[in-house]
Symmetry: C2
Subunit: 200 residues, 2 copies
């Protein structure tokens, strides 16, 4: 099962995803390719595959990406290989709204989750507090956020990240719940159902 998690930059997506990955088995993180610069805390191959723009465009030409997009001047993409390399696990994609829409079109069964801050004002506060961006960059992020939020109707679920713990539990619940769906469980039910066969 593929889970796409999107939301305005600064909404707390990455933290929530880390929480889910820590609390739940059988789920992995899809590492995206990007041309943006590595931040200090980030690890190559774990947070992103950091590549040059040339390399990225060659991958686009080879149709190596399930989705790709330009966000704040940098390229981001999910390679097909990243999704297919382990089919026994659920996979979480942390991608932007444009990417989410592309995944929806290509993979009908993907589950799309939108993470929202409790308000625009709170989002601005969080982005400013994070201190990663210049005043200009903050303004750009907020302008993008306004645009992205308008696309909320393409998503299946909306998680409001007011309190990290509550929002994390809710995100985890979505994964647990999808695993309990009849269609998802049918295979593992075989032995149980067979044990019920027989004369009353």
């Amino acid at each position: 099962m593929i889970y796409v998690i999107s939301g305005p930059s600064g909404c707390g997506k990455s933290t929530l995803i880390r929480q889910v990955l820590a609390g739940l088995e059988g789920v992995r993180f899809s590492v995206s390719h990007t041309t943006r610069e590595k931040r200090e805390a980030e690890v190559e191959g774990k947070d992103y595959y950091f590549v040059s723009q040339d390399r990225f465009l060659r991958l686009v030409e080879k149709d190596s990406f399930v989705e790709w997009a330009v966000v704040h001047g940098a390229f981001y993409g999910t390679s097909r290989r990243e999704l297919t390399k382990d089919r026994n696990q659920d996979v979480i994609l942390d991608i932007d709204v444009q990417g989410a829409a592309q995944v929806r079109k290509k993979i009908e069964t993907a589950v799309l989750i939108f993470v929202l801050p409790p308000s625009f004002r709170e989002l601005r506060k969080r982005i400013e507090k994070r201190g990663l961006d210049s005043a200009l960059a903050v303004r750009k992020r907020l302008a993008t956020a306004r645009k992205e939020v308008r696309s909320y109707t393409v998503f299946d679920y909306v998680v409001v990240n007011d309190d990290l713990e509550t929002a994390g539990r809710e995100l985890e619940s979505i994964l647990r719940c999808r695993r309990a769906r009849l269609a998802a469980r049918q295979k593992s039910l075989g032995p149980i159902l067979r044990s019920f066969r027989g004369k009353g």
Copy 2:
């Protein structure tokens, strides 16, 4: 939102439901009417409304039930009033498979959850250990269980109650997850979305 929870007698439904009611806000238990005898631990008006067969049949004639069924010689039913008396809360129905199928027909949006023991053998063990039934009654329960299990395909979700804590968390996840669905959340999103409107 209406949640119907069914499963063979002895699968641990009641305990799981108690866990969910204790761990989650905004959800209440739908108290059924029954003509069966009250067990010692049960409380009138909390576990069931215990009524005579005459009274039950009069309620059937007045079309007071959303669903009703005969299980092991006793009548069980969910009154319409029980479902409509508080529309601000989710409601959990603990009813048998026949009742679940009736609810599905009348209330399309109801969420149907089937609880299964890990195996038939384990179910028998649990029912015998509970010590509530005669040998004959145990055999009847098991025969009913075999029949009920065949109806699993009408359900939306299947929870296997191997470990109580895991199964309880899974059941709770289903409720949390349904609340996060876009359609369920749309109303509460209004103020957040409005806060994002404005010039970039």
